[in-house]
């Protein structure tokens, strides 16, 4: 389990004068449940897009499962699953049609695609509306379908951008259990979320990006070790996050300015 699933070297992305991701060196071991955190606009989604082929880096390189993404894009894509920002669904298909489409795009044969589609729709509790178009799904249902599509081909790395946003508690519980089982079987999961409690519960390792730069990386215990928490209590991920991201002063809004609300 020590082989690296994801390695980036000086990964950089610029949009005109703005450097959204600035020389990120990241290493994620195979089988890790990896949380990628950062404030709004820090560069999380841009990094995920570069690691999944949706955005070309301005410089630097990304290596997934030992393969250079730029040199072997199709082979890398075959082995990864993605829930992108905005989910990327074809909204005029039904859930079953979309899963069958994705399964075939990943090269699965028809019977396997059919069987897996039905099992995934059952698991995600989406099988009771076989004729409903995705356009008519609720946000949470679309999110569950996007997750189902990301795993239909049995990926070795799974990239999830805010996967639990809008998903009800029941489905979220089942999904967390599923993701946990996947990591036990050696699948690497790379997840971004603003809900730090979820990341703390699920992830063994965390990286924090701030203003495009990687400011912390390691296991939760390693990060806790670097922060002085209250005596006798365990430092939470929220405290770690705030202490790292809020270090450069003026980051947290000053409540005194809103005195008329209090």
């Amino acid at each position: 389990m020590t082989d690296a699933a994801i390695v980036t070297q000086k990964l950089t992305r610029r949009f005109g004068n703005l450097t959204a991701v600035d020389g990120v060196d990241l290493t994620v071991a195979a089988g890790q449940f990896f949380g990628f955190l950062g404030p709004n606009g820090a560069g999380k989604s841009t990094t995920i897009k570069m690691l999944t082929g949706l955005l070309a880096p301005s410089s630097g390189r990304a290596e997934l499962l030992g393969l250079d993404f730029a040199a072997h894009p199709v082979e890398v894509k075959r082995q990864i699953g993605v829930v992108p920002e905005g989910m990327g669904l074809f909204e005029r298909l039904t859930g079953a049609e979309y899963l069958q489409f994705v399964g075939r795009m990943y090269g699965l044969d028809r019977p396997t695609t059919q069987r897996r589609s039905e099992e995934l729709l059952d698991f995600m509790q989406l099988s009771d509306r076989p004729k409903t178009l995705i356009a008519d799904y609720s946000h949470g249902m679309q999110k569950k379908l996007a997750l189902a599509a990301a795993v239909i081909h049995g990926p070795r790395i799974l990239f999830l951008d805010e996967p639990f946003e809008g998903v009800d508690a029941l489905a979220a519980g089942a999904l967390k259990a599923l993701l946990g089982r996947m990591t036990e079987r050696g699948v690497t999961i790379f997840l971004t979320s603003h809900v730090l409690e979820i990341v703390e519960r699920l992830c063994s390792h965390v990286a924090i990006i701030h203003k495009g730069r990687l400011v912390a990386q390691g296991s939760l215990d390693e990060l806790r070790a670097g922060i002085a928490g209250e005596e006798g209590s365990k430092t939470t991920l929220e405290q770690i996050f705030l202490s790292i991201v809020g270090q450069d002063g003026g980051q947290r809004p000053q409540l005194e300015e809103l005195s008329w609300l209090m």
């Binding site: 082979e75 909204e91 090269g107 609720s138």
Partner: protein, 551 residues
Amino acid sequence: MADVAAHLPGVWEQIRLVAGLRWRILGNKLRKKHNQWDLLGMIVAGVFATLAILGISVGYGFGAYAFLSGGHEAWIALLFWGVFLFWQLFPIFTAGFGVGFEFRNLLRFPLSLRAFYVIGLAYGLADFAAVASVCWLLAMTIGATVANSSVLPAMLAISTLFLLMNITLERMIGSWLERILARRRAREMFFALFILFAVSVQFINPLVQRYGRTAQPWVRQVVPYLTVFPPSLAGRAIAGAAQHNFTDTLVGAAGISAYVLLFSVFLWLRFATQYRGEELSESAAPARSVVRPVSRTAEQADALRLLTPQVAAVLRKEFRYLTRNSFAFFLLIMPPVFVLLFTTQFAGRHPTAMKHPVSTEFFFPGMMAYLLLILMAPAYNSFAYDGKGIQTFFTAPVSFREVFLGKNLLQAGMLAFELTLSMVAFSYLVGLPSLPVLLATLAAIIFNVTGQMTIANWSSLSFPRKLNFGQMRGQRQSGMAVLVSFGTQILLGGISAPILFISRWTGDKWLPAEVFAFLAAVAIAGYSSSLNPLAALAEKKKESLIDALSR
């Protein structure tokens, strides 16, 4: 304790705030770089609209003057009918195709029902149809007063009542439409009906020419029933004032007032329902779990087994999208209908638009070229309806070569079906042309379609523009894609014209068929060799493509 304002703004202040909000939204929208062409378009459209309104106003003013000075006072009802129909129908056709919840969104603010009602009516007056109609009513008032100054008080009173009636009715219809069109299926059905209506209008002229005289007695029977409607009542009131028959004026005014009252009550009830909170959600109601039938598709042989799984998947997806897109689906119905229409007008034994029919030798290739012009247009922006789904093409382990192959195969299949259908209709109505012309046309179609597809694929990557299903408002292709489409058609036409000219000059009937067969082979080879460079281009353009389609 948080502070809240002691007093709410008055109704007029709220109207001013809403108008300011609309203006700010428009300004911010036009400030974006890619919308600067839209600003130019709006200025040009605004100039033309103003000229049209002024021109028609002159017509209305002159009409009112002519009817009152010529002793045909009752005919002024026709002018009121014109204003009425435009005011009520135009907003349906322009605003009815999109979801417009802006007005309802005001309900989150602390408005009284009375304020909500007044703002709703004021919203109705800011409409293009309302502005135009008010101009026309003013023009009618001026024209009528010049003809007979004693009708001025009646014209002012009746026009005001007529205006109130129209605003109230238009807002009532708009409000109901908003409720009905909140659901996607209803919007698409409405859109399909509109397209059907637009196609049906093309047949009015041939039908009037054939059945016009026999329908006249039926029209005369219907006319008396129209006198109870507001425009006829308005006409009766003005005619009464002009003829000093004040009973008619009073009856007309009372009738319109009754309509104003009736529509106001209905509109109040409608707005009250909205005010209390109305569910207009798109989401389906929770469904009960059902036992899933045993799937059979996996057991059946794959009809597309000759294709790679990826190409077959894209082809299936494209077919499903085609059948679920009312606009694209109706585009498929239109070409054979137009072949039928043009054939009855210009060809065959008894053309309705000409004394002598056009020769089949010219008409057949012309019609096929016309069909290609219509049917190939969507190919120049072939990712338009994919929306955010475009990301799947980039995250999946496929080359865009396969994506284009899937999309182009569906386009080619659809073209083959449409052209065959039209040829069958053509051969039934006027017969097919001679064999050399038929073969030359078929070879030219292959050359044209394959050549266009190569350029259309490039255009789809270079000038993508997102389009929404079943929606007409704000649905525009990229201007560059349209230019490329026209340029390609002109180029291919420019290649074809000398071939046909040389054939006529030399008298060699088989020359076009031979040359077009050669060109078709070259075009197929060109198309095939373009796929890999296009896949590389897709990789380069992926950011702009995803950005344009995921908005």
